[in-house]
């Protein structure tokens, strides 16, 4: 074993490239590799099937002990497994061993990504062509997509999503930028207080935020209103409204968007604020000396220098909005013409129990996200190149 480590840490030489196979190492590596794999697998099975083996009789400690054991087994086992694999690959004849070495190390990672990301994605595309319980393909093969597009609710849902995409990311960035710029002009203490205030909603979950805003939009039958919005409206002499049921000009959808903006502005502000502080002072000074107005400086000097961050924030919020679900589900469940794609998918899968149509909706969403992702990756690459 110690010989193996020494060889592994030694620099590769041309001499080594010609080394012949080392059957002893191959054997030891292979056997220990399989033994370790077997031990880890059975270790986890034992934790699942025979928890009493790892118990001291006190439920609280039992759970902790078992969790620690699982961690040791998982991490330690993985380290040991890779070590044995290393021994095995090094035992192979020179060129082959050198050729395989990087793959041996990188393949488990690829395998995990493939298993947890690629496989489900491909399977979803596959299921989008199958029936409601994914047991047979539908005829014609594109029937689910046909059904989705024929659904009159779907066009409205797509329209709603577009509206969300048009309004929310832009509004979030603009407000975030505004707050960042204005906070930048405050005293250090004022700046940190105002930023903290703006950032606080970030800590609230979407469902929690929906509950809070549910009180703001609340409507009661009769004269007593407890909703903040109705209180304001009635105070200025208006009539109390049941806000979330008003679909004229998509008012209710807009009210839901307000919640997301409220939640996300803090995130946008923090990133943009950092970007503003990174704008070199001398460029501003140069502009001032040239007699540019503050407004011109902001739009022609500051903004171009933080364009990268603006785009990043915009794209992040954009992708998040494409997947928007929680708020719509909790507040209206898509009623009153507020449905969005993700909620439609949820209804299709868990209410209608139609996995085929649900997958088709997801595939459509996936295809719609791809251009944004490509843009995002390209943008990152350009940024890297400019550095």
């Amino acid at each position: 074993m110690s010989a193996a480590t020494v060889a592994a840490s030694g620099p590769p030489t041309t001499d080594k490239a010609q080394t012949a196979a080392d059957p002893k190492r191959i054997l030891v590596g292979a056997v220990t590799m399989i033994a370790v794999g077997w031990f880890i697998g059975n270790g986890f099975l034992a934790l699942a099937y025979y928890p009493q083996w790892f118990a001291v009789g006190m439920p609280v400690f039992d759970k902790i002990i078992q969790a620690l054991l699982a961690m040791v087994l998982g991490i330690g086992g993985a380290v040991l497994f890779f070590y044995c694999m290393n021994v095995f690959v090094e035992g192979l004849p020179g060129r082959l061993g050198q050729f395989l070495m990087p793959y041996a190390w990188i393949l488990p990672g690829y395998f995990t990504i493939g298993l947890l990301l690629l496989y489900p994605a491909i399977q979803t595309v596959n299921y989008s062509l199958a029936n409601e319980d994914s047991t047979a393909y539908v005829t014609p093969i594109y029937k689910n997509f046909q059904d989705v597009f024929a659904d009159e609710g779907f066009t409205r849902t797509i329209g709603n999503n577009l509206l969300w995409l048009l309004i929310v990311p832009a509004t979030t960035v603009v407000i975030g930028l505004l707050v960042a710029v204005l906070a930048d002009r405050l005293s250090p203490k004022g700046e940190s207080i105002s930023k903290a205030m703006m950032f606080m909603p970030m800590a609230i979950s979407f469902v929690g935020a929906s509950t809070i805003w549910g009180f703001i939009y609340d409507y009661q039958s009769g004269d007593t209103q407890i909703g903040l919005l109705n209180a304001i409206v009635t105070a200025v002499g208006g009539e109390a409204q049941s806000w979330l049921t008003i679909d004229r000009f998509a008012l209710n959808s807009m009210l839901l968007m307000v919640i997301v903006v409220w939640l996300q502005v803090g995130y946008a502000m923090v990133l943009l604020s950092t970007a503003i502080k990174n704008v070199p002072e001398d460029t501003l000074e140069a502009a001032r000396i040239d007699g540019a107005s503050e407004l011109k400086i902001f739009f022609l000097v500051v903004i171009p220098q933080m364009k990268g961050t603006i785009i990043t924030v915009f794209v992040t919020v954009f992708i998040m909005v494409m997947k928007i679900f929680d708020i719509v589900y909790v507040m209206t469940n898509g009623n009153f013409k507020t449905n969005v794609i993700a909620n439609m998918f949820f209804q299709e899968l868990f209410v209608q129990r139609n996995a085929g149509k649900a997958s088709a909706i997801v595939v459509i969403l996936l295809i719609a996200v791809i251009p944004v992702l490509i843009y995002q990756v390209r943008h990152f690459k350009r940024e890297e190149a400019e550095r």
Partner: protein, 436 residues
């Protein structure tokens, strides 16, 4: 060499020590799931937990002591999914208590459940049960489950202050209620307290209204055809029932807050305006469970603060008094286990449930159940309403496929109530969404 190690590795894997112990064949029953036969332990899976599970266990304590059979009750809020998964992996309980008949019927079709006539005295329990109860679990003429608990939906609740109006507290027909409602409205108070809001489930209380009206206007046969999709959802008669609801609840001055108010008011808060002084509305039609949602002071003296009456028949419709409701149905998975059969016999008899009834929130599906066990007069009167019913029918949205009964029917009620769609449009849309 690796091959040897590999095969050793594969065969050397640990096995699940608790696989399906299973009724070993040879018994009469077709359903042979569950735990070991005749071991004096019976496993039961149900949906209810918390206080309800305590009531259930207490109701069984005496039986357990006398028979020496130990009942192990487990519950999951996700019962509907869990039971399917456990059947698929061969790990069924001896007995399962289904909150809705739909899941039970699905498993009957997979030959997992023992027909009750093979182990219960069908005629005997049928004679003590409220008529129509066993039909909910009937598949191809045979019954596969017996009710263990009842829920009654056809109840009209009114506050104490209603009596001062001098209007009747019992009604012969829906039409009479409509007429009295108009009088109340003329006197300045809307008759109905209605709330359809229920978070993502908004609209379900509305489905009950349609079901009540279909059952009353067209009778149980049409109702059964409707819930089992033998007639389409957009049948002319069903559309008429929608229109009847429109007249009853959505016309001006019929319900508190109107269309907007109905959709914005949570079903649990619907009756709160009735307890204000002066009352803003008087009647609410809702199931027996709703008393748990009343304001605390009302709950504290339920018998004096609220009155109940049965939601009356429809003039010109079905002649008898129908009751809409629901119930938990116990079904036997282990047809070979004499202990499980004993538990089933006890659980589905009118002797079961005294302890649970005393705790409240439980109604026996048997007409012959001793009413003195109920904690208050309100509960007793509700049990009586059900016992006097000419026909009992399960909540239709629970019988329909989930896509409709838990999806488009709900959202359809929202669209109908808001006025976004007409009765015909809503019924057409729901019919379109019915899974093939």
């Amino acid at each position: 060499m690796t091959g040897v190690v590999l095969s050793l590795a594969l065969t050397g894997c640990l096995q699940d020590p608790n696989p399906r112990a299973g009724g070993t064949g040879g018994g009469e029953g077709i359903a042979q799931g569950g735990s070991t036969d005749g071991d004096k332990v019976v496993t039961v899976l149900g949906a209810f937990g918390g206080d309800e599970a305590v009531g259930f266990r207490e109701s069984l304590a005496k039986f357990e002591a006398e028979s020496g059979i130990k009942v192990e009750y487990n519950n999951s809020t996700d019962f509907t999914t869990i039971i399917k998964a456990r059947v698929r992996s061969g790990d069924t309980p001896d007995i399962a208590i289904f909150p809705q008949p739909g899941g039970l019927i699905e498993l009957v079709n997979e030959d997992q459940i023992q027909a009750v006539d093979t182990y219960l005295n069908y005629d005997e329990i049928n004679s003590t049960l409220i008529p129509g109860f066993l039909d909910a679990a009937r598949v191809n003429g045979r019954v596969y489950g017996a009710p263990m608990r009842m829920a009654v939906k056809s109840i009209v609740w009114y506050p104490e202050s209603y009596k001062a109006t001098g209007k009747p507290t019992e009604f012969a027909s829906v039409q009479e209620m409509q007429k009295v409602g108009e009088e109340l409205s003329a006197d300045g108070t809307t008759p109905w307290c209605v709330g359809f809001e229920s978070g993502p489930g908004t609209g379900w209380p509305g489905t009950d209204w349609i079901e009540e009206l279909v059952l009353r206007m067209w009778g149980p046969d049409v109702y059964d055809q409707w819930t089992s999709h033998k007639i389409p959802f957009n049948d002319e008669r069903i559309v008429q029932s929608f229109e009847e609801m429109d007249k009853l609840l959505l016309a001006d001055g019929t319900s508190y807050g109107g269309r907007k108010g109905i959709l914005a008011t949570a079903f649990g808060d619907a009756m709160n305006p009735a307890f204000e002084s002066p009352a803003k509305c008087y009647w609410m039609r809702q199931g027996n469970f709703i008393s748990g949602f009343f304001p605390k002071p009302v709950q504290a003296e339920l018998d004096t603060a609220v009155g109940t009456t049965v939601f009356p028949p429809f003039e010109g419709g079905f002649p008898g008094q129908p009751i809409l409701g629901g119930g938990d149905i116990a079904a036997l998975f282990n047809g070979d286990d004499p202990d499980a059969i004993e538990v089933m016999k006890f659980m589905t008899s009118d002797k079961f449930g005294g302890e649970w009834a005393k705790k409240g929130g439980w109604l026996s599906p048997h007409k012959t159940f001793d009413g003195s066990n109920y904690p208050d007069e309100t509960t007793r009167s509700i049990a009586e309403m059900a016992a006097n019913a000419d026909v009992f029918r399960y909540d239709g949205s629970d019988l329909m496929p989930n896509a409709v009964g838990g999806g488009t029917f709900w959202s359809g009620m929202v669209d109908f109530t808001s006025g976004a769609k007409t009765a015909q449009q809503v019924a057409d849309d729901i019919e379109k969404s019915w899974p093939q």
